[in-house]
Amino acid sequence: MRYIGNDNIIGRFIFHSILIVSLLLGMFGMVYLRSGIVELEYHIGDLEKTKMDYLKERKMLLAEKTNLVSFERLEAFLSRSKELSLPDRVKVAHLTKNKQEKYLSHNVSMERKQLTEP
């Protein structure tokens, strides 16, 4: 015949209660977290939709801007008041720095070409 003390019974009761409460809390916590994740996914989904709408609008605006700054459009717009004028070549002088940090003139303006100093 085993003797079970009162202290041991109380301890086991508390232990089991805590275990059950923890289990329930854990389960509710998981449900809560899962619903939070789903809610967040909805929110991100909405934000992504908004982002796609803005990107779509951005693409349209970029296309419109590109069209507006085309040479044809610019000239058509400017010709109402004045001609689209290209630079006067008489007034063009190209400068480049040499090793002594001095500016020297050169006559070539194309990119990536060997510059010729006078």
């Binding site: 789903v38 996914e41 909805y42 991100i44 989904g45 934000l47 992504e48 796609m52 990107l55 779509k56 693409k59 349209m60 970029l62 296309a63 590109t66 069209n67 700054v69 085309s70 040479f71 044809e72 290209l86 630079p87 006067d88 070549r89 008489v90 063009v92 002088a93 190209h94 400068l95 001095k102 500016y103 003139s105 006559n107 070539v108 303006s109 194309m110 990119e111 990536r112 070409k113 010729t116 006078p118």
Partner: protein, 566 residues
């Protein structure tokens, strides 16, 4: 009694648990595959990643081809509820006849397109109709914001964004992307949950060597010349003679790549590389270069051309204007047929053929555009008795404008044959350089001495007494050559006396060339000579191009300016 009840209760509980266990085993073990597949179908939505073509930029980063998002109208024939009134309204909104709309709706099936890539304003009108069984899907449309500008270089795409022409076709593998699939969660109401993955992918961007400003200048001048000379067609190419970069390329007739279906295949052809012609006097570069390189003549060697004609294999070839004695320089300057044939006969068939091939005739230039042809130059064994005369003056050979331009670039750059190209770089959407085509290679084919000597002769063409005086520009020397060719009349199979091809090819500034350019005008009305028709177009384009590139005039010495650094 209580014990009996307890037994019954226990048995019922155990039996119930057994039933639950069996059902669970059925769901989780025996039907697991089928049920999990069904669950996936209900909760996971597979969507195509929307593939967008890469952007095409000009050399200064201006967009020439990009994508816009438009909506396409579809219907689900099984759930469609389209009454007569709605059909009439829909027909009016999308500007399509009712019977055309009805013909697009099949009797069976769950999907059919009604109208693709619709204008946003029209979409708004259709949405207001709220027709059951009809909906919209977002689609990317290729958009060319500069419309006709560089259309023959850019090319175009079809309704499903499939490449059809130009750079779009040549670099299709870089511009397009496969896209792939993305898995999205959804709830019972069909709302989509984010997976955090991108639902859009873009192909690589392409950077051209074309400059939109220069392209605009040549297209504007082409329109003016086409209208002035009532020509049937025109091609202009502008190239950096040192690198082979194509700075501008345009043809007429042209087309708007936003609506390729509305133009004929003929208008979409890039004539500058797909059509060949007999070049006439611009081909005299072959004889000139060969004679100088082989030291058969010196620029000041005198030739008697006073008869004004020459008999070659029984065929008499005339000069357009009579001359007395001409130096070799003057033969080119005044484009004397008799003089150049005399020099050609001194050279002989083999050498003419050798130098024609060296200058790139009869072979593709290798430009990175689709449809280039190689032209044609017969090998000497196929020459007839008259061929040496005809070929010396640019007949009996077929060339493309680009081949002629490349040959003249050899003179501009001191003797190198360059490889023309239109794409300089391919860049990933993140900005990484995927491929670079700069400095595509060049090969020395003639000596610097010959190139320099022939350049001086070409300079005299655009000076007083030369056939190309109309190409001269204030402040900078021009070197070039005129060309006038009769076209074969298909009715008579003879060279026409009324139909010509006029051309001018050259480079500027002559002593320090920045641009090489060719102008070819087909069947101008009212005048025929290259010097009268094509040379002024060359001048007008070159003057604007030099201003655009801010290339200083050479007749204003820099020493007269005070240069101040800030």
């Amino acid at each position: 009694m209580n014990k009996r009840r307890a037994i019954i209760l226990n048995t019922a509980i155990v039996f119930s648990f057994c039933l639950i266990f069996l059902r669970l085993a059925d769901l989780m073990i025996f039907n697991h595959g089928r049920l999990s597949e069904r669950a996936k179908q209900q909760h996971i939505k597979v969507e195509d990643v929307q593939a967008r073509r890469g952007i095409i930029f000009d050399r200064r980063g201006r967009e020439l081809a990009l994508n816009i998002e438009l909506e396409s109208l579809y219907c689900d024939p099984e759930s469609l509820n389209l009454d007569r009134e709605s059909l009439i309204k829909l027909s009016s909104a999308i500007s399509k006849e009712s019977k055309v709309i009805l013909s697009k709706i099949p009797e069976q099936g769950r999907f059919a397109w009604i109208e693709r890539k619709i204008d946003p304003e029209i979409v708004k009108k259709v949405k207001e109709l709220d027709i059951k069984g009809m909906g919209f899907i977002n689609e990317a449309k290729r958009f060319y914001p500069k419309r006709e500008i560089a259309s023959h270089v850019l090319g175009c795409v079809g309704i499903d964004n499939q490449a059809l022409e130009g750079i779009e076709l040549q670099y299709d593998s870089h511009l397009k992307t496969s896209g792939g699939k993305v898995f999205l969660g959804r709830d019972a109401n069909g709302n989509t949950l984010s997976s955090g993955e991108d639902t859009e992918a873009q192909g690589n961007n392409v950077v051209l060597t074309i400059d939109e400003g220069l392209q605009y200048i040549i297209e504007k001048e082409i329109d003016k010349a086409m209208s002035k000379w009532k020509a049937t067609g025109m091609s202009v190419i502008m190239m950096d003679p040192f690198t082979g970069e194509i700075l501008a390329l345009a043809n007429s007739p042209s087309y708007n790549p936003n609506n390729p279906g509305r133009t004929s295949n003929s208008d979409r052809r890039n004539r500058a590389i797909t059509d060949c012609y007999e070049p006439g006097s611009t081909f005299k570069i072959v004889i000139g270069v060969a004679a100088l390189e082989e030291m058969i003549v010196k620029p000041n060697a005198l030739f008697d051309v006073s008869k004004g004609y020459i008999n070659v294999g029984g065929k008499v070839i005339h000069d357009d204007h009579k001359h007395k004695s001409l130096t070799f320089r003057e033969i080119i300057q005044r484009s004397s047929n008799v003089g150049i044939i005399t020099v050609g006969m001194k050279l002989g068939e083999e050498k003419i053929f050798k130098y024609a091939k060296l200058l790139g005739f009869g072979d593709k230039t290798g430009i990175d555009l689709p449809g280039e042809i190689s032209g044609w130059i017969p090998s000497p064994e196929k020459w007839s008795g008259t061929s040496i005369g005809a070929i010396s003056i640019g007949y009996e050979v077929a060339v493309t404008p680009l081949q002629i331009l490349r040959a003249y670039s050899t003179i501009a750059n001191g003797g190198y044959l360059v490889n023309p190209y239109v794409v300089s770089e391919i860049i990933s959407p993140e900005g990484q350089i995927v491929a670079s085509f700069r400095n595509s290679g060049k090969k020395r084919i003639i000596s610097t001495r010959t190139a320099e000597a022939f350049k001086n002769i070409l300079k005299s063409v655009a000076e007083e007494g030369g056939t190309g005086i109309n190409a001269s520009i204030k402040g900078n020397g021009v070197a070039g050559k005129t060309g006038t060719t009769r076209i074969i009349d298909p009715k008579t199979n003879m060279y026409s006396r009324e139909k010509f091809i006029s051309s001018f090819v050259g480079f500027v500034p002559a002593d320090n060339p920045n641009l090489a350019m060719i102008v070819v005008i087909h069947e101008p009305k009212g005048a025929s000579y290259g010097g009268m028709v094509a040379a002024p177009v060359f001048r007008d384009i070159a003057e604007q191009a030099l201003s655009y590139l801010k290339i200083p005039r050479e007749d204003y010495p820099l020493k007269n300016y005070l240069l101040v650094s800030r």
